[in-house]
């Protein structure tokens, strides 16, 4: 089997070695909530589905990790919540099924902020996750476990979900690539819903090629997800090879970055011109409204999406209840963590009849404004460049950012979710022992532009690996 990555999984002994190595690292990092690589042994791609594409050849035989809010049949689906602790999924997400067909194999489920609500994976009710560059720091979130699993060399790639930055921000914190695809490009079927109109399944990987290959496999219109959209035919095979013939708009002005991040950002922007890109400074007047709009919409949708967890059909159920109402109340009281409760309450609040005009509908208006703001920008530039997060990985607990500061810091990432456009976080170097990152945005279904620019930057600054965790994987060379 040709593979972009040299697989160690050629026999039972290697599998045990692999299991042991991952478990060792996981004890230190807390990336996985569940790990079971036995499925790797039986990896046979489904030719009918994969059709011998280059992307399939790249991923065939590869093990990968899945964020524990994405359904994989037989694995847990806890969303890092007490509510679903012990719940096993009876079905697989469409993205997982497509990877199955391509011959890739899921080996475990990764930690996250409960139901995807957080920016540090500190809201998990089930495990603590640490940054492989500095274990006293957070991995970012909410796809922190997936980012760590890739960054610490435990798997070549992982699936995550991105509602307001949940793939890109942990990817940036851990020094890996993180792609949030165009809304609708990847089926949401099997992704446990938090904020349906904003979120999607995406990829975290150690290099651009693999990021793109996985994206090409999971990208498809899906009859199980009526909000999924087929990629326009003319963009399906668009050229994504490294090229500098792109007009890059760089977000300027007062961005509120910390000093290290600001310096790194400035340096990379300078480098873009040097590399031959046509660079112009741009402004995004709606940026300051993105966080309030994002949280209003996300909370509103969450209040409905999380209503199904009532302890009746599955999940946590109180030992005793006087009546059905008490049972439901008890399950939700005991099952949800404080951040989840906060957002449900917030969402219920903004959706009350008589108050929608003031909150929910106003947020939708802002969303429309952000969309047209971006559309206007993309008339003159091909790619938009901006920071991912205003600070580098912060410390665990109270020494780090408060929950409120974390929310404010989502301003760069949430824009892409509100507008439904693709965005890629990519590593651009290491400063003070911690990764630095950049974010690129493109119009809907123009992911190839992101890969073109990222490939150029990858050559300029090859991604680094954390010193304590060299990859368990070796690049075997680009296939023919």
């Amino acid at each position: 089997m040709k593979s972009y990555w040299k697989t160690v999984l050629t026999g039972g002994q290697d599998l045990d070695e692999y299991r042991a190595a991952v478990q060792d690292r996981n004890r230190e990092l807390g990336a996985f909530l569940e790990f079971d690589p036995t499925r790797c042994a039986a990896s046979t791609p489904d030719d009918a589905v994969v059709d011998g594409s280059a992307a399939a050849e790249r991923v065939a035989g590869l093990p990968y990790a899945v964020k524990d809010n994405i359904a994989v049949s037989g694995f847990s689906l806890t969303c890092a919540s007490r509510m679903l602790d012990g719940f096993r999924s009876p079905y697989s997400a469409t993205a997982v099924r497509r990877l199955d067909a391509a011959g890739a194999r899921p080996v475990g489920k990764t930690n996250l902020d409960e139901f995807g609500m957080g920016s540090a994976t500190e809201n998990s009710a089930l495990a603590e996750t640490h940054n492989p560059w500095d274990r006293s720091r957070v991995a970012g979130g909410s796809s922190g476990g997936s980012a760590v699993a890739v960054a610490a060399g435990m798997v070549p790639f992982a699936l995550g979900s991105d509602t307001g930055g949940s793939i890109r921000q942990p990817a940036a914190f851990c020094g890996v690539y993180g792609l949030k695809p165009t809304y609708g490009a990847v089926s949401r079927y099997g992704l446990v819903a938090y904020a349906s109109s904003l979120e999607g399944i995406g990829v975290l990987a150690a290099d651009v090629d693999l990021t793109e290959a996985v994206f090409h496999i999971i990208r498809a219109e899906d009859e199980m997800d009526h909000s999924s959209i087929a990629c326009p035919r003319e963009l399906l095979d668009a050229d994504s090879s490294a090229a500098t013939d792109l007009r890059i708009g760089v977000l300027g002005g007062e961005l509120g970055l910390d000093e290290v991040v600001a310096t790194g950002y400035g340096r990379t922007v300078e480098r873009l011109s040097e590399l031959g890109f046509s660079v112009t400074a741009v402004e995004l007047p709606t940026l300051e409204y993105s966080v309030p709009a994002y949280y209003t919409i996300a909370a509103a949708e969450a209040s409905a999406n999380l209503a199904r967890y009532n302890g009746v059909r599955y999940g946590l159920r109180p030992d005793y209840a006087e009546n059905p109402e008490e049972l439901v109340r008890g399950a939700r009281e005991q099952g949800f963590g404080p951040e989840v409760k906060l957002r449900i309450l917030l969402g219920t609040y903004v959706l009350r009849s008589g108050f929608q005009e003031q909150y929910y509908l106003r947020a939708q208006k802002i969303r429309t404004a952000i969309r047209s703001d971006l559309a206007r920008l993309f008339e003159s530039v091909d790619v938009l460049c901006m920071p991912v997060f205003p600070v580098q990985p912060f410390a665990h607990g109270e020494a780090g950012l408060s929950p409120f500061q974390q929310k404010l810091a989502d301003r760069f990432t949430s824009t892409a979710n509100l507008a439904g456009v693709p965005a890629l976080a990519l590593p651009v170097g290491v400063e003070r022992g911690l990764p630095l990152a950049l974010q690129l945005l493109a119009p809907a279904f123009h992911e190839h532009r992101l890969f073109r620019a990222a490939r150029v930057l990858e050559q300029y600054a090859p991604p680094a690996t954390p010193p304590d965790y060299p990859p368990l994987w070796v690049k075997a060379g680009v296939p023919g």
Partner: protein
């Protein structure tokens, strides 16, 4: 004066193979939790996918309800917690329902009323929670069943209207094949909202009523609720805005929850489903599935096939039956005969064999053939019935049956004539007797011919051949009391008598060709008629019509009750093929010798009646002097004989062209024996009360009558429809609502000549609201006798009303 406002929210489960958002089977009655999957169980990570069939059927209903169809429609989430709702939100439609601004025309007592449809929207059904002891059990089979909600404007005023709308809507959805409309099983459900207010003051505070699982309960619950709210307002109280439950065991509504605790559903657009666009292709497919709807079809049946409204109602109730009927007609069956056979003989056979028209042996082809054999004269009526029975017993074609059994009628009159001659030759004595003026042996001769042909001859044809051959014309004269057949005693009293020696009374010319058969139906005065006497008369007329030997029937009657008997005979025998002539006299019978010469009124009228009876003008006639009056709307207006200066005692009201012949209420042959008929008449008459409304009449008088067993009132109102309905002890309103609760019907006539029409007066409108039924131009006597006939012909109160509302 209060005004009530009723709006309905009707839910129907759409008949799709699978659920609305997943591939699970959508079925009623399976083992609990067997038709479920992660989607309809609301598992984490699942998404809804819209069932295309469900949205198609939804648009079809909206189209049939004349709604404006949304070009683009969307789904919204309706948020509320309930254990049987898997996601704890329901995917429904809020901002842009698929259908808006429609209407349904409800036919209420033969008047059309337009009820506006506010909107039609599609949503998913919830599961079911059952409380068993200290457990609550959940079945999610129903969760995700496509559910269509139809919201009407508050355009109805009384429970009966809501009941009628539901029945009509049920028929509509069954015609469209989108729902079976079963309220007991819950495939069709109805909530109602009702408010009342002073007339003209707009809507009052709205009360919602739930838990009504039949259209009958909807009517009862609404009428109870209107009465309850009215009582509150009358006491000076305020109606609380709340949701109430109908308690069918206690026949009342009870508080479920008051408004304060009502839910805020926090609707917002469903992000998992993109808006649905109804493109031209989709709309064309919807249009193609739009069948002719029941109301239009019923109207067409009346128009095209000249059926009575009640017959068309019967045929169009189910689409299958209406289709069957039309196919039979298309294959050559006579429309009137087919309608009548389906509603009588065929229905009887289906009941007896416990089968349905569509599963049983009577295919459309066979049914049409049977009627055609009858129409072509290849079999006669009695044989046709035997053949129908044989089809059910032997499952063979009618043609095969009649040829196997040798039932084919002898249609060739030459051949039949030979049998007649044979019999006459064999029975010289009978012939002699007839020639001597005694017509009695005629029946004997008919029987002989029938026997010699093994029943293959049509008895009426045999009779007419015999009559022709013997030069006979027969008029039956039935004596039924009254001065015309009475005798005046010396002290002036008239005592019951009988007709004798009629022949002497007749002109010589007439008497030469006509044979009389006198029948004495008891010695009584016509003011003393009992139901048993009427039964005897009906039975006698029926017998003579069946015998088929007479040219006509004359009934000598008293003046006082003639208008009633005439009406009654019309509703029983309006389709008679010979004249049935009633006559009377204000002046009693005089000694024989004098009367023949005197030209007294009795003699003159009797002669005129006999002339009319031999005139070949079929139907029921009332002959008085030179008048040939209709039995419909006959009024006994004044006393005394007709003379040059005075018109006769009778006159027809509301009539431009007199009606003698038409469609009787008793359709098909009357097959009751005398004892049963007597019993049915007694029972019918015992449940009717004719009340003339008068100033000062109290509603509770009528209530006492209801408690005494009266179920049908004929109310003779003032003018074209007025009566006291003001809130006083003299108001009839309470009697109406009390009556409605007890299944009592009120038919309204007028004390004056003219048409009763509730659309004119304010009180007329109120009467309408209270459920009274205006009888148009029919007089009290005519309505009373029609009601008797309708009661004998019907199986239910609804059927009685339908028959009463049939046009002449």
């Amino acid at each position: 004066m209060y005004q009530s406002f009723i709006g309905l929210e009707i839910h129907i489960q759409l008949l799709t193979e699978t659920k609305i958002f997943c591939g699970c089977r959508s079925a009623f009655g399976d083992e609990p939790n067997t038709n479920v999957c992660p989607v309809c169980m609301g598992y984490p990570g699942i998404l809804p996918t819209l069932n295309q069939r469900a949205i198609h059927l939804a648009y079809l209903v909206a189209r049939a309800l004349n709604c404006t169809l949304a070009e683009t429609t969307g789904f919204d989430r309706k948020n509320y917690f309930y254990p049987d709702l898997p996601k704890n939100y329901q995917i429904s439609q809020f901002a842009v329902p698929l259908g808006t601004g429609g209407y349904i025309d409800v036919e209420f007592h033969r008047k059309r009323k337009r009820v506006r449809i506010h909107e039609v929207h599609l949503e998913e059904d919830a599961g079911k929670m059952i409380h068993a002891g200290d457990m609550s059990l959940l079945d999610f089979n129903r969760a995700g069943t496509p559910l269509l909600e139809i919201v009407t404007e508050p355009d109805m005023e009384i429970g009966e209207e809501a009941e009628t709308l539901l029945q009509q809507f049920r028929r509509l959805v069954r015609y469209l094949g989108v729902c079976d409309g079963n309220m007991e099983e819950g495939s069709m459900r109805c909530d109602a909202n009702v408010s009342i207010n002073r007339r003209g003051a707009g809507l009052g505070s709205k009360v919602e009523i739930k838990n009504m699982n039949s259209s009958r309960f909807v009517r009862k619950a609404l009428n109870h609720e209107i009465a309850r709210q009215q009582e509150i307002l009358e006491r000076g109280g305020t109606v609380v805005q709340e949701t109430r439950l109908w308690n069918e065991n206690r026949d009342l509504t009870e508080t479920m929850r008051v408004k304060e605790s009502a839910s805020d559903y926090r609707y917002f657009p469903e992000p998992d489903l993109p808006p649905f666009s109804a493109d031209d292709h989709f709309l064309a497919a919807v249009e193609a599935d739009l069948v002719e709807l029941p109301a239009q079809r019923r109207e067409r049946f009346v128009r095209e096939y000249a059926l009575a409204e009640s017959q068309a109602d019967f045929l169009c109730d189910e689409k299958d039956l209406a289709d069957y009927y039309e196919q039979a007609v298309l294959q050559g069956a006579d429309p009137a005969a087919a309608a009548s056979w389906l509603s009588t003989d065929v229905r009887k056979m289906l009941n007896r064999h416990a089968t349905s028209l569509f599963k049983g042996p009577l295919s459309v082809q066979r049914f049409a053939n049977l009627l055609m054999l009858l129409a072509e004269g290849r079999i006669h009526g009695t044989i046709a019935k035997q053949t129908l029975e044989a089809v059910f017993n032997e499952d063979k074609d009618p043609e095969v049956i009649i040829s196997e059994k040798g039932w084919e009628q002898i249609a060739d009159s030459g051949e039949l004539q030979r049998y007649v001659e044979e019999v006459l030759a064999q029975q010289p004595q009978a012939v002699q007797q007839i020639n001597a003026g005694d017509t009695r042996p005629l029946g004997f001769l008919v029987g002989r011919v029938m026997r010699s042909t093994s029943g293959r001859a049509e008895p009426q044809l045999v009779t007419s051949l015999l009559k022709q051959r013997l030069g006979l014309e027969i008029v039956h004269v039935l004596s039924f009391g009254g001065a015309i057949s009475g005798t005046r005693e010396d002290d002036g009293l008239i005592v019951p008598g009988d007709l004798r020696d009629l022949k002497q009374l007749m002109d010589d010319e007439l008497s030469a060709s006509v044979r009389f058969e006198e029948v004495q139906l008891g010695r009584f005065l016509s003011e003393e008629i009992t139901p048993a006497d009427w039964a005897t008369l009906i039975d006698a007329v029926n017998g003579r019509l069946r015998k088929g030997d007479a040219s006509g029937i004359v009934i000598a009657h008293g003046t006082d009750t003639l208008a009633y008997t005439a009406g009654l005979l019309y509703w029983f025998f309006a389709d008679a093929t010979i004249p049935i002539v009633l006559t009377a006299s204000a002046v009693p019978w005089e000694p024989i010798a004098e009367r023949a010469q005197s030209g007294s009124e009795a003699v003159r009228n009797l002669r005129a009646a006999v002339h009319r009876a031999t005139s070949n003008v079929p139907g029921v006639h009332v002959v008085y002097g030179d008048q040939d009056l209709s039995p419909i709307n006959l009024k006994f207006e004044r006393f005394g004989a007709q003379s040059d200066s005075l018109p006769g005692p009778f006159r027809n009201w509301n009539q431009t062209a007199p009606v003698y012949h038409g469609r009787p209420v008793i359709d098909g042959p009357l097959e009751l024996d005398l004892a049963t008929l007597t019993e049915r008449l007694e029972h019918a008459i015992g449940s009717i009360f004719v009340a003339r409304i008068y100033p000062g009449m109290r509603g509770d008088t009528l209530i006492a009558l209801i408690n005494g067993g009266i179920r049908y009132f004929i109310l003779e109102l003032f003018d074209t429809g007025t009566a006291s309905l003001r809130e006083t002890p003299f108001s009839l309103r309470q009697a109406f609502s009390y009556g409605a609760e007890h299944g009592v019907r009120f038919f309204c006539t007028s004390q004056q000549e003219g048409t009763v029409d509730f659309s004119e007066y304010v009180t007329g409108h109120e009467l309408w609201k209270e459920g009274a039924i205006p009888m148009g131009l029919l007089t009290t006597e005519t309505v009373y006798t029609k009601l008797i006939a309708a009661l004998i012909a019907s199986d239910s109160g609804e059927e009685v009303v339908r028959r009463m509302e049939d046009e002449l």
